[in-house]
Amino acid sequence: MKGRIKAVFGNMVVAQTKDRVVKNAVGYCVRSDGIKLLCETIRVRGDSVDLQIFEETRGLRVGDTVEFHEEMLSAVLGPGLLGQIYDGLQNPLPRLAEKAGFFLEPGNYMHALDTERTWDWTPKVKAGDVVQAADTLGSVPESIFEHNIMVPFGWEGQYQVQSVAESGSYAVVNEIATLTDASGNAHAVTMEQTWPVKRPLCVAKRRLLPTKPLVTSVRIVDSMFPIVQGGTYCIPGPFGAGKTVLQQITSRHAHVDIVIITACGERAGEVVDTIREFPKLQDPRTGRTLMERTIIICNTSAMPVAARDASVYTGMTLAEYYRQIGLNVLLLADSTSRWAQAMREISGRLEEIPGEEAFPAYLESRIANFYERAGVIELRDKRLASATIGGTVSPAGGNFDEPVTQATLKVVGAFHGLSRSRSDARRYPAIDPLESWSKYVGIIDPKKVARMNKILRRGDEIRQMMTVVGEEGTPTEDFTIMLKAEFFDSAYLQQNAFDDVDAATSVDRQRFVFAKILEIAETDFAFKHKDEARHTLQKIGSMFLNLNYARWDESVVPEADRQDEPTDKTAVEDDKAAERGNFKEILGQIDEYIQSLLDNAKKSQAEDEVEQVTV
């Protein structure tokens, strides 16, 4: 199927053809110097076909040949994806660098998987077995996981295993089984298969309601605005509010099997940081490097815009693939606004009628469709697996009323809104505790969270009132509530991402400290005057800060209540070990101090009563 270029403007090409074309199928524009540029059919009108080019269109001429293919833009799936760094079209960047040097020249494409590397194959089926799409044929070890090789997802109906390769080393392109369909035709199966990125990949018995908390080790998220495995959440925020740092922290500490980082239209520098750091960092839960459970899809802002649109889908497809294997996957998309802007650019070139802020009218449905690809599924063999999506949003001017934020809020289960005022005050993570929300139940009893929330809200009301009536006009009880809200904020909600201990708080520790703080926040200390209240809560606050920097001592929680997996403490290197206090000691000091306050309160109350009697 061939055509000729009729018009070129920006990254859009109009081609003329008399042949059959498939919408959303890929094709190549052949430059006069022989370089082929990947493109996608996005509109057909009569015999003219609108194509978006995934490269710079420099050098294309009217009359140049266009080759049309049948298949849609697809991801290559198979063992060897973990630890890779891809661009939005799944070209492996490190191998591309070896081949082409510093620059990403147009028309340079490479196969996503290393076709020479061999894998230790163990068959799980035998000749004569009946299988269907997504059933496991065998497995190979990849990183710490058992990577199942499955019947291609697109195959319909039932197949009989005709033959299966014996245990041994095979490359991804080697045939590992032959299956026969109902009409007796034989089909070869290799370890790799492809799947169109824009079509959801979900071969499951059923979808389940996501309920299992996804622990990120970020306190404000896990305790106050939890996310769940198979759920969705978004992080909108103005520039400089710490979206990317929050995503990086999550990608390091999240309790999932696999993390897929999609850097979509963001700075290359941030990806470089991850690329250089992750191979050196150890995953405390597996003892392997973080890179071995990570895939990076990196289509930075300087790369062609059409590929940016594709990168989000490529990342999602890889996430769904590992979900089919039976793992829990977290997809972090940074930033979905850049993806939406890519849609806007393409829509503008197609001269479609624009919607709000010139975004296309289908913006909302595209965003909704994307987030709906997350979920917990029950596989045919009853195992559960999940794909979670966390997307950042970069609203213009930091204003959440813009179309991308609003479209996203409608479809996600949790909203972590970052605020400029919190980041300016250096309160990190800058998630606004009063504006954010989550529809999920996390690791802490929702009733307790609601109680804490009430104190936070009341504290904020009082603070606002105080700006009008002044400190003198505020009753001491109200003033104390405000101080308690402030104490909770500084001692619990804020977290130092750059300290080894404070950066990640385990489930048991969060439950323990949260309960402790809630207890203090609900205790009536019967302060006599504001200075006493301020002094006391400042002191408690600073004790808790020390506690945050101390290494967790699991013995404070009864063994039966523990949920954390025991970690190997000896393996941890810490250059600040000497400065850190002892968890139990600090805890003892806090308890002692609180007790003394209560005793004093009781004593003075008794004295007051005596006074009243004598009067």
Partner: protein, 446 residues
Amino acid sequence: MRTFYDEITKIAGNVVTVKAQGIAYDDLAVITTGHSTSLAQVIRMEDDQVSLQIFGGTEGVSTGDKIRFLGHSFKVPFGDALLGRVFDGSGRPRDGRPEVKAKGVEIGSPAVNPVKRSVPSKMIHTRIPMIDIFNTLVGSQKLPIFSVAGEPYNDVLARVGMQADAEVIILGGMGLRHDDYLTFRNRFDEAGVQGRTIMFVHTAADPVVECLLIPDLALAVGEQYALQGKNVLVLLSDMTSFSDALKEIAITMEQVPSNRGYPGDLYTQLARRYEKAVDFDGAGSMTLLACVTMPGDDVTHPVPDNTGYITEGQLYLRNGRIEPFGSLSRLKQLVNDKTRDDHQAIMNACIQLYAQCEESREKREMGFELAEWDMRLLKYGDLFEEKIMDLNLNIPLFDALDKCWEILAECFEPEETRIRDAIIQKHWRHKSHQPKPEAQVETVKS
């Protein structure tokens, strides 16, 4: 092959449409009118209708004028002959000297493969304390200066150009007043850095299309030097003029505007330029400092807003000073722990104390009673502004740090600075060692 096309079918805005065949997208052409010649670039092709953006503007273009295609996209000559020279937005000499004969490099090169970038690690010394101490510029960083019309942002840029320890300095001027251009030239001349400076200048009087090319020219040349292993500093002023030129062309081309008339791809256009800042793994680096004037001092305006999402921090220039609070260099922690052990401590302490001084000033303005502590903060604030915040200073980092210690010692007791004891013991200036005895007398009085 010298083929002329003269069937011009449309002239609108800065765009001319001509009937031609076999032309490649992005190709360059020369249009010869009755009184001048100008470069033009293909921006749209439809059948045999080729639309060209005319760099020199379309005033006086007639339907009978001739267009010759050059058969390649825009190239800028590259070589050491460029050093010390000034060019306009079409790459022609602006300094009255002959054209540079050198091999051309294509502008707008593809993106750098992220795995060939290295993590930034070199500090760029500008000898301006507000940058060096508080918002350290790091090699390969892209940092904008957010400012408003009337602020001396071009002075700051010129100063950085004169004082920074870069091997090659490239200035890209967009929409500059002619006076500003001359000022840049004179100051570089006086400072004797002309020999390692290349200027690409578009003045407000020049055709708007030429403005669009300035960053590409400057960055293409800078990139070549970086590939040769040099550390390049590119100064751009003013990116808002560049964005406005984008807007003008987009609207002429009947593109749907998105926000305040700017095209929907403003982010991409800006990012493609800013992302050229790079530290090549195994070669040199290119650092980018760009002025962005904020219309109406509004940081949510599309240009500063999109810029903020792309760059690694920002400097706010207000009232002739770099704002100590909003300004931020996101990469500073990559280098400021390796300069001198007191760098980070001084950075934090000085800013915190200055913030407290601002509170005391507010108190003073409201007519509240001032404590002795407030008086000392006020004194500190004045000294800090005079000796550190002044943008006319030209002192190395270590001297600037020493100066901070002097100011601290003059105003405070060691424990009041909340600096760690270990650092205090090493660096604190005891009063007996103070160089200025009169300052000591003052302290006693207060």
